[in-house]
C-alpha cells in the first residue's frame, strides 16, 4: 500500500455550544484513490473536510497531509489541496475567467491563461468565460466552483456534495470529470448523499454518523462483507414447514407458507449461485413454484443498515 497522502488521527471537534461534530476520527487516504464519505445530514462530513482545509479548528487530534502536520506546516500542504464547497459561494459579479484566475493566484501559482483556458474548456465553461457568474445557471455555477478548485492543479481534491441539486446530465459529466482527475493522479475525497455516486466512482467508502466513522473499507470488500441477496419464491401450494432437503439454505417461510424467502450470500455473486442451487433442490424434491423475485442489496442498503443499526 502506498504512503498515505492524508492521515487523520484522533480528530475531535466540539463546537462552542458543546455539539460534538467529530468524535475521535481516524482516517488514511492513499494517493490516487477516490474516497467517498457517506453519511446523513449533520453526520460530520463537512466538518471533517473543513478541518483538513483550514475552515474548522480541530479541538484535538492531528491531520497530516503530504507528510506535513497541518497545525504547523500548513502553507505547503494547502497549496496542494483543492476544495469545492457545498454552497454555491462565489463572487457573483465577477466574470468566470477572472474568478478562476483569482483562485490560481490565491494559491501562489503564476498566471497561466493557457491553463485557465484548458480548465474552462474541460468544464464546458469556455463560452461563458466573460459572463458574470450571477448570470449562469445553478449547474454552471457549480462548474465554476470546480474550475476554481482546479485552477492551481491540486493533488488532493475535496468535493463536498458535488452533485447536490444538479440534473442527471451534469451529474454524469461530473462523474466523468472525477474519473479524468483520477486518471491524472489526483486523489479525490467526496461527500455525497447519493449512494449511486459512491457506488459508481469510489474505490473506498467511509460511513460517518454522529461524528463517528462507523466503517471504512474498500467498496468491493464492503459489498462482499455486508452485501446480501434476497430471493422471494412464490410456491404453488402452501408449505407447513421447511423440509429437511432445503434446510441447509438460509430460508424462511412467509405469507402463510405461500412464499419461501432466501436471504444470504455476500454481495459477490454467492447469493445468486445459492438461489440457483435452491431452485434445483426444490425441483428435485417436487416442490413446485410459480415465480421468483431476486434482488441484490446495494451500497444504499448497506449504508442504511449501518446507520440504522446504531440508532
Amino acid at each position: 500500500m502506498s504512503e498515505p497522502i492524508l492521515k487523520i488521527e484522533n480528530l475531535t471537534k466540539v463546537y462552542s455550544g458543546g455539539f460534538k461534530a467529530l468524535d475521535d476520527v481516524d482516517l488514511q487516504i492513499t494517493k490516487g484513490e477516490i474516497f467517498a464519505l457517506l453519511g446523513p445530514n449533520g453526520a460530520g462530513k463537512t466538518t471533517l473536510i473543513g478541518a483538513v482545509c483550514g475552515l474548522v479548528r480541530p479541538t484535538s487530534g492531528t491531520i497530516r497531509a503530504f507528510g506535513d502536520d497541518l497545525s504547523h506546516n500548513w502553507r505547503s500542504a494547502r497549496a496542494r489541496i483543492g476544495l469545492v464547497p457545498q454552497e454555491l459561494s462565489t463572487d457573483m459579479f465577477e466574470t468566470v475567467r477572472r474568478a478562476v484566475s483569482f483562485s490560481r493566484g490565491l494559491f501562489g501559482c503564476k498566471s497561466d491563461p493557457a491553463r485557465i483556458e484548458d480548465i474552462l474548456k474541460s468544464l464546458s465553461l469556455w463560452d461563458k468565460r466573460d459572463e458574470q457568474i450571477r448570470k449562469l445557471s445553478g449547474g454552471m455555477k457549480r462548474r465554476v466552483l470546480i474550475a476554481k478548485a482546479l485552477a492551481h492543479d491540486p493533488e488532493l481534491l475535496f468535493l463536498d456534495e458535488p452533485t447536490a441539486g444538479v440534473d442527471v446530465e451534469l451529474r454524469r459529466d461530473m462523474w466523468r470529470l472525477i474519473g479524468n482527475l483520477r486518471d491524472q493522479g489526483v486523489t479525490v475525497i467526496l461527500t455525497t448523499h447519493y449512494i449511486e455516486e459512491a457506488e459508481e466512482m469510489a474505490d473506498r467508502v467511509g460511513v460517518i454518523r454522529d461524528g463517528k466513522l462507523l466503517m471504512v473499507d474498500d467498496k468491493t470488500s464492503m459489498m462482499a462483507r455486508l452485501g446480501r441477496t434476497e430471493a422471494h419464491i412464490s410456491l404453488s401450494a402452501p408449505m407447513g414447514e421447511i423440509p429437511p432437503e432445503i434446510s441447509e439454505f438460509p430460508v424462511h417461510l412467509a405469507k402463510d407458507g405461500m412464499e419461501l424467502c432466501y436471504r444470504g450470500g455476500d454481495g459477490t455473486g454467492l447469493g445468486s449461485r445459492e438461489v440457483a442451487e435452491l431452485t434445483k433442490a426444490l425441483t428435485a424434491h417436487g416442490i413446485d413454484y410459480i415465480g421468483i423475485e431476486i434482488r441484490e442489496s446495494s451500497l444504499e442498503d448497506i449504508f442504511v443498515g449501518l446507520v440504522e443499526d446504531r440508532t
Binding site: 473543513g50 474548522v56 504547523h72 505547503s76 489541496i81 459561494s89 457573483m92 483562485s103 490565491l106
Partner: protein, 256 residues
Amino acid sequence: MIGFNPRAAWAIYVREVMRAMRTAMQSLLAPVLTTSLYFIVFGAAIGGRMESVGGVNYGAFIVPGLLLLTLLSESTSNASFGIYMPRFTGTIYELLSAPVGVAETLAGFVGAAVTKSLILASIILLTATLFVDYQIRHPILAVGYIMLVASSFSLFGFILGIWADNFEKLSIVPLLFLMPLTFLGGTFYSIDMLPDPWRSVALVNPIVYLVNGLRWTFYGTSDVNIWLSFGITMGFLTACVAVIAFIFKTGWRLRT
C-alpha cells in the same frame, strides 16, 4: 508558520481594487460630492465671513480636517466591506483554505483600501482647489501622514469587518462613533476656540490629534504637540495590527 505568498497578496489586492472600480460612483464620486458640498457651505459661503484661524484663511483651514473626515470614513468602510462581504457570502472559504496568512491578507485587503483612500484624497485635494486657495507646507510629510492614517483606519475597518456579524454592526461604528468624534475633533475649528472645560474634554478625543497632525503638515500650525499626534497614530496602527494578528492566530470569527 512563517512565509509569504506574494501572488496571493497581489491577487487579493487587484480583485479589491477592481471591485471598487466596479462601484466607482459609490466609491469615489459620492465622497467627492459630499466633500464638495462641505467646501461650498463651510469654505465658500460661511468661510468668507469667518476670521482666519492661526493666520490661515478659514476656507483653507478646514481642508485637512475635511480630508481626514473622508479618509477615516472611507478607509474604514472600504476595508470593513472588503472582508465582511466574503464572510457574508461564504466566499471566505477560499481565502481560509489557501496558503494565505495574515500578511498576505492585510497586504491585499488593507493595501487595496489604502490605495482607494489615496486616490480619493488626491481627488478631494484637487476638488478643494476649485473652492479655496490653500498650500501644503510639508507635502512629503503630508503624503506620509495621509498614508499612515489611511493604513491605520483600513486596519481598523478590517477588524470591524471581522467583528460585525450583520450589516447594522458594520455601519454602526462609523456612524455612531467615528463620525461624531471626527466632527468634534476640530475638523471645522481649532480646539483653542473652545472654552474650558470643553477644550480639556476635546483633548480626550483621539481624532483631535489626527486632525492636528495633518493640519501641521499643511500649515505648520497645530493645537497639540505634533509628536504626540504622530505617536498616537502609530500607537493606533500598532494596536490594530496586534488585534488582527490575534484574530488570525485564534481564528476568531473566521474559522469555526
